[in-house]
Symmetry: C2
């Protein structure tokens, strides 16, 4: 039988690692990028096309799914995998981040958060226990602890108190997850480190999580406006505070250069809306940097979006056509650019995995940055 959750590191170079997570629904090659499927769809893509880009796992958002279609309804319909026709692993977040950024009339107590839906104003509650229940009802493969993600620019004592509550919530999440019967026996639970940019708070958080014990450890509370330099400074110490034999997941990151810099610092997993959202907005990521497809210089350019890219969009369509579609507001423009961007991200991850395996990741990262930041 396939293991519930087994992480094997195949090679390292400096702090960078490559390996594989084995789970019941399939393998996740690391470093891994998880496309975001917020509302039971990776926006503007069919699931078979998401898989064809090389994605081993996608992310679903607990906050959105609990509001629509609803967790109990999803369970009656057979769970998220069947609902959206994705049979490989799905990681669900806890709802903690979105409830802070999207909902209204929030009230946070030690028990949890009550809030009003941004869709219809209806009242809801999230707590460690309810978040575990919802993620179980969805059928999540990798469940995230319920935590609070505080604004990054607050005083240290505010960040500390928030982190400490998140650690108490992590323990309650662990206990509620473990009580989950069959689901707990075939899925995994990740803890989330908090502490903003503060090394000692991050250390306290990491130790508290390790004491509880999780299948993997996320670095939370970053990519919230602190900038790449501050994020990298934090990543210079945060991953190393977490257990070395477990996957480390940097939540909500990021730009292609963020991913390379974070892998260099020991991160194994990522998720971000950037490739999908940018695709809908006419931005294409390439090995030569991002391109704004609305730019008039593409109007008669018969070359592909990225000559080094192997995706169906680049094999088939010209920059001129994509420029036209985006300018005309055509859905196909969003579809083709999303597919390109997700594929580009997967090619970047594959490039990093191969480079680490072959002990040439330092050169890979240098080449990447040289090409990505060179002006065309």
């Amino acid at each position: 039988m396939k293991p519930r959750f087994q992480f094997t590191i195949h090679a390292t170079e400096g702090k960078a690692r490559t390996g594989v997570i084995q789970m019941r629904r399939g393998e996740i090659r690391t470093p891994a990028f998880m496309p975001v499927g917020t509302a039971a769809t990776v926006k503007a893509m069919k699931p078979q096309d998401v898989r064809a880009t090389g994605a081993d796992i996608i992310l679903g958002n607990t906050y959105h799914l609990m509001l629509r279609p609803g967790a109990e309804r999803m369970a009656r319909l057979g769970g998220l995998h069947k609902f959206m026709n994705w049979d490989r692993p799905i990681l669900t977040d806890s709802g903690g981040y979105q409830v802070m950024s999207l909902s209204e009339l929030r009230k946070i107590t030690e028990e949890g958060v009550t809030f009003a839906s941004h869709i219809d104003g209806s009242r809801h509650m999230l707590s460690p226990e309810r978040s575990m229940e919802i993620q179980r009802l969805l059928g999540s493969d990798i469940v995230m602890c319920f935590d609070e993600c505080p604004k990054i620019d607050q005083p240290r004592d505010v960040i500390a108190r928030s982190m400490e509550m998140s650690m108490r919530w992590a323990k309650r999440s662990r206990e509620a997850f473990d009580a989950g019967g069959d689901h707990a026996e075939c899925s995994a639970l990740f803890g989330i480190q908090q502490g903003a940019l503060d090394e000692s708070l991050r250390k306290t958080s990491a130790d508290a999580l390790a004491e509880i014990g999780f299948d993997g450890y996320a670095i939370g509370g970053l990519a919230v406006g602190e900038g790449q330099e501050a994020m990298f400074s934090t990543l210079d110490f945060a991953p190393g505070q977490l257990p070395a034999d477990r996957p480390r997941y940097l939540m909500g990151v990021g730009k292609p250069d963020d991913l390379v810099g974070a892998v260099e610092r020991g991160v194994d997993m990522f998720d971000c809306v950037l490739p999908t959202r940018s695709g809908r907005n006419g931005q294409a990521f390439t090995w030569s940097g991002p391109l704004n497809m609305r730019n008039a210089r593409h109007a008669e350019d018969t070359g592909p979006v990225d000559p080094r890219c192997s995706c169906p969009t680049c094999a088939t369509y010209t920059r001129a056509y994509l420029h036209h579609l985006i300018k005309a507001g055509e859905m196909l423009g969003a579809m083709l650019l999303t597919e390109h961007n997700i594929s580009f991200y997967q090619q970047l991850m594959q490039g990093m995995r191969d480079a680490i395996a072959e002990q040439r990741f330092t050169a890979f990262a240098a080449d990447f940055r040289r090409d990505y930041f060179r002006k065309e």
Copy 2:
């Protein structure tokens, strides 16, 4: 070498006909439904998926394409087929209808129409000669004469004068098309019958077109608000006024029951935005009638949109999932329902072609109407 344009009728039943049009870029099985690809894309579908539904030919809109990306630009980019990755036949309309319905500051003279773009207000001109030139620059396979499509509820003398001008424009279109060199030798030109609901005006128009001589003949000026009963009354005589050995194309039609009724009356070709537009709006066509996927009764329905449909959407997804996607405003909902609707239309056409070939079209049409109008 493949013929430039050859129409072969394989079987008839009553006035209904089935056959094939052979052209350089491929065969068009008739009765044929042409998905509308207004701005060089069948909205929300990849071209290979359009083809997989069974579509032999698509339609492009001259008005939209002349404004964006522009006819001369399209020619520099290698033509519409290459631009949008569709290598089978494309029919382009003349721009005459859209310039009346979409543009601003129109001025119509015997020479043609001057107007302002609905996109940016820029000034443009369309005439029989310019329309032929644009359709040649696009690389159209079936070119439509430039005509005026008058409002249907005007006095007979207004309709008559408009029709007479359209017939003079048809002659100018023929002459301009024939002067088109290589393009004229590998593409076809269709005339457009006008005359609104009036049998004698329709006859005058049909005779004028036959005198000029075209590869096929369209019935124009219908599906503009007159209602199905008036449309069918007109189709009781209009197709029979046109040359029997040429394809008859009913422009801008229609609902599934419109198509069946028009095929019964001798029509061979159709185009309509309904399946694509409805798909984006959450409406699904089925053998049991149209469904509004927003309706709450679908929220936990694990059946397919249409159990008789063979499309990928019906093979893969539940009504519950499509309901969720449409309610959430997800692009994938529009993508999957558009694919279903175009596929349903193609299955309906295939059903009619098979039934006529097997001399059971009367029963097919009766069965269709019984199921389509029966309340679920």
